[in-house]
């Protein structure tokens, strides 16, 4: 109580403010030490596990390599080779293609699923139950989920057999497996939940009376979706987009398995370099990929403010 009174007395009298300031600053340093100490553990963890590895990769990307040795240096050789080769452009293009198609499909499915869960299921118990149902595929590993597509999609797989039995096709479809289709199918299967979760989360925060208000104002179901739900779900969509795009752009194993090593993306480029012990070249590709992903996210964040969702 006394302190409050003193504070008021100080702020009440303009002449005293200047006199009060140095004293406060002195107290501020003491308070800051505590603050720094509290922030230190996380800072150290981030330094050790995020900043240091990236710094290392960036450093190595300027090194030189021959078939049998790696030479510390500062050379743009790796980058010159990377940007000089049209393989790079084709592979980056393929990566963007995978990312954008996967994004569009996961968004369509994810939005629909989240919409159904958030607005059509009335009881919360049911919502939670169905939501957990969505996570069941995550109980097994990525690789197993991917591999399990192979007997289904293969030349003599279940899909082709069934279609032939139904008389829809005469010849087995060749493009079902070891193709872009298979790669994107697996991506969608693996990553849709990363879209569902943030979108569902945002939708659950929409006040249900807004939907009634929209109806009261004469909005049809579609109009409510377009003019109310969609704009209010944007931050969730953006977070889901960041998840899906970064996961797909950084992936290499899905592309290798599902395309039968016939397709490439940037991740496979890096993985191949590593397989050949060409670390500097792999590091350079990784740096370019990192920058690309950061630019993509930067552009996305220009459109939607996700801060209030965090």
């Amino acid at each position: 109580m006394t302190e409050t009174l003193t504070d008021r007395a100080i702020s009440g009298a303009p002449g005293d403010v200047a006199a009060a300031r140095p004293a406060r600053r002195g107290a501020g340093i003491g308070a800051n030490v505590g603050g720094w100490l509290q922030a230190a553990p996380l800072t150290l963890v981030l330094l050790a596990f995020l900043v240091a590895p990236i710094a290392m990769i960036v450093t190595v990307s300027f090194w030189r390599a021959t078939e049998f040795s790696i030479i510390p240096a500062f050379s743009f050789e790796n980058y010159e080779f990377l940007f000089g080769s049209d393989v790079t452009y084709r592979v980056f293009f393929a990566t963007f293609k995978y990312a954008s198609i996967t994004w569009a499909v996961t968004l369509a499915i994810g939005f629909t699923v989240a919409y159904f869960l958030a607005f059509h299921i009335r009881s919360q118990t049911m919502q939670i139950a169905l939501f957990l149902l969505c996570t069941i595929p995550f109980w097994t590993s990525n690789i197993i989920r991917m591999i399990s597509w192979i007997p289904f999609l293969g030349r003599n797989g279940i899909a082709n057999q069934t279609l032939i039995d139904w008389g829809v096709i005469d010849q087995p479809l060749e493009w079902l497996l070891y193709s872009d289709f298979a790669v994107i199918l697996a991506f969608v299967h693996l990553y849709t939940l990363f879209m569902v979760v943030p979108v569902f989360n945002t939708m659950m925060r929409i006040d249900k009376s807004l939907l009634e208000a929209a109806r009261d104002n004469g909005a049809s179901g579609l109009q409510t979706l377009v003019h109310v739900i969609l704009p209010l779900t944007k931050p969730g969509i953006m977070i889901g987009t960041i998840f899906v795009v970064t996961l797909v752009m950084g992936d290499f194993i899905t592309v290798r398995f599902m395309s039968g090593s016939q397709k490439a993306n940037v991740g496979r480029l890096i993985s191949n370099d590593i397989g050949l012990l060409q670390y500097p070249s792999a590091a350079a590709t990784a740096v370019v990929l990192l920058c690309t992903v950061l630019i993509v996210i930067g552009i996305l964040l220009r459109f939607v403010n996700i801060r209030k969702e965090l």
Binding site: D207, S209, E212, A213, A214, R215, D216, G218, L232
Partner: protein
Amino acid sequence: MRTGKDLELVHLTKRYGDTLAVKDINHVFRNGTYVCLLGPSGCGKSTTLRMIAGHESATEGEIVLDGQDITVLPPAKRGTAMMFQSYALFPHLSVRDNVAFSLRMKGVEKIARHRAADEMLALVDMTHLAERLPAQLSGGQQQRVALARALVTKPRVLLLDEPLSALDPFLRIRVRGELKRLQRELGISFIHVTHSQDEALALADEIVVMNNAVIEQAGSARDVFGAPKTEFVARFIGGHNIMDLDGGRFALRADEVRLTDDGRPATVSQVEYQGDRVAVTAKLGSAEVLALVPEGAFFADPKTPGDAVGLAWDEGRLYRLMA
């Protein structure tokens, strides 16, 4: 007086499974009146309002507005508009776009709908904040925007679901004055759901008191306060004593009880100063009787707890309650 434009509820019933939320209600809301649906929570008043608005389907019965059966029409086609308890403003739209929302849904072009929205904003004195987002407004300002948004559809009946409950007490009194003024200016019916008897008494041309899914009493504010029909109404509206006298149960207004020397003998048990008057509770036998005594009269002959007093009232002021 009945006119063809009235809103009429005919045997209106709402059931949720086995629970009756609204039970066979019949009522005529006269055109151009300010009606308050008053009752405790869970009495069915909000459900009734939401059925009129079309946000809840009626299990049985009809809702007739202006001679037209609107029971199954969608909300926007009924000639009603609803103002929601939490205001339900669209957080991503500016004040002007919120108000213009219904016109946008109808496909009115931008210039025309903004003009209409600005007119409504002028009506509620919010023109200067038209560019703001709802989150940048105070509770009272949001309330006005919600009002403007409901009125822009030119409804014949405006439905207000506890419109003042989110405001602080001071603002509540000011806003209710504005609501009443607006209703008079527009000449349309306002149906206002509330659980506050003060609000209902201050605003309503007609008060409809609901309890346990039925209408207990309907009438002008003076009729309901001056002559409550049932014990529930007398208790809920406040300011009444319920007395068991020979021949039944009666309601007596607390301000009709006088402290005298020659009335029924009682003992003062509590004295509460309320500014303009003093609330004296006295024990009369086993019953407690509340007397609201004007401040001047009380202090001319002050009492303290434990004092013996006589209680008197005009027999004509006793209202027999229905069982």
